[in-house]
Symmetry: C2
Subunit: 216 residues, 2 copies
Amino acid sequence: MVAAMQSRTPTTPPARTGGRPRSATADAAILEATRQGLVELGWSRLTLGAVATRAGVAKTTLYRRWAGKSELVVDAVAELFDELELPDRGSLAADIEGVVLQFAALLGRPETKTALMAVVAESTTDEPLRERIRQSIVDRQKRLVLAGRERAQQRGELPVEPDPSAAARTADLIFDVIAGAVVHRALVSAEPVDEEWARRFTLLLLGGLAAAAAQT
Amino acid sequence: MVAAMQSRTPTTPPARTGGRPRSATADAAILEATRQGLVELGWSRLTLGAVATRAGVAKTTLYRRWAGKSELVVDAVAELFDELELPDRGSLAADIEGVVLQFAALLGRPETKTALMAVVAESTTDEPLRERIRQSIVDRQKRLVLAGRERAQQRGELPVEPDPSAAARTADLIFDVIAGAVVHRALVSAEPVDEEWARRFTLLLLGGLAAAAAQT
DNA sequence: CAGTTACGCTACGACCCGTAGCGAAAGCCA
DNA sequence: TGGCTTTCGCTACGGGTCGTAGCGTAACTG
């Protein structure tokens, strides 16, 4: 069930046999240029031509690797989500605060701010894109939540649900609550996700988990 | 502190004295055409030219009233949020489920699905737009949460916080949790916000509120 | 009636899109 | 070394959208 950490391959896997290989340097330059462009121009004013110029690459090279702006931007910001980690802080409460602050740190960057909502908006009318987002971004976040949950169960802070279907639904619920609250606070309400907010949110969620556990 | 329900005025208030008045019929036709366009084309492929044609209006008329696509779309979907109501269902739990399902019903529509995330994305680099969204859409949702909270306090289900500053922070927190979770479930996870999910979410939140109240 | 504002229409330069076609570069294999 | 294959940079292009200007007409006020 663990998604293989597949190397990000823009479009079709290069090829089978010989020929000039794709420049990995160009790949990195393009993704970096995309992030810079997002910072300086924002999603809507970002153009593929500008990315190509800034990356020192021909525009055609971009179109050979990515289907469009959405796909490129997803890959560009997905790299930032690779750094997500969740050190064991000893308690469920501390781990939740850790997750919240990790998400908040990423959503605080201007690149991700403007890009995430935009590609999600596009994905509502583009199913393959939605799947790409899920694999590249959402699942990377979800891992943190699942890790924290498992740790809490090992500590005895959370009950182990025997029914795998119910357990999955619970995990999904918790994930949507955490990620949703942070995103909404940061991007819609546009107010800071600082330590005080994280503490208050954690208190709220923790109480809910305890109550839900007691009811079971 | 209650925002006056100002009539939606696209750009600058028409004028002071005589002259040909703006056609209210055209206004309605444009907003309706915008929603139809969102359904059929989605945000990115929606063009102001297409909206004008569909509304039976000259393109220039659009630009005389709205600064751009974002502003127009905000007004178009904001009308849908006018129908938001929260009937008293007798208990806090039932009211929370009501709020959740109301939000979910709106987010289920294809117009709002593709539009909301897009305009929020734009608003990250456009402060006036963010304010417009807040007034036209977010505050309309927030009213429901505040109403439910007040009802619960009158019923004695929730404590009345004396410090108005702390009370406001709590209300903000609850709002971000509810709206965020629903949005994330509906648009990012792209799974249905049905009654079962609403029930489970309510259980979680209710437990958290009870625990937070006990701690105070 | 004159004055004022909104409207429909046309036309326009500017920009971006996505693709085609070319010659050159960079690998692999005999 | 020479052939084969694939990618690269470059140029050029038709098609579409943008946002605005200019004009004559419509609607409403005093």
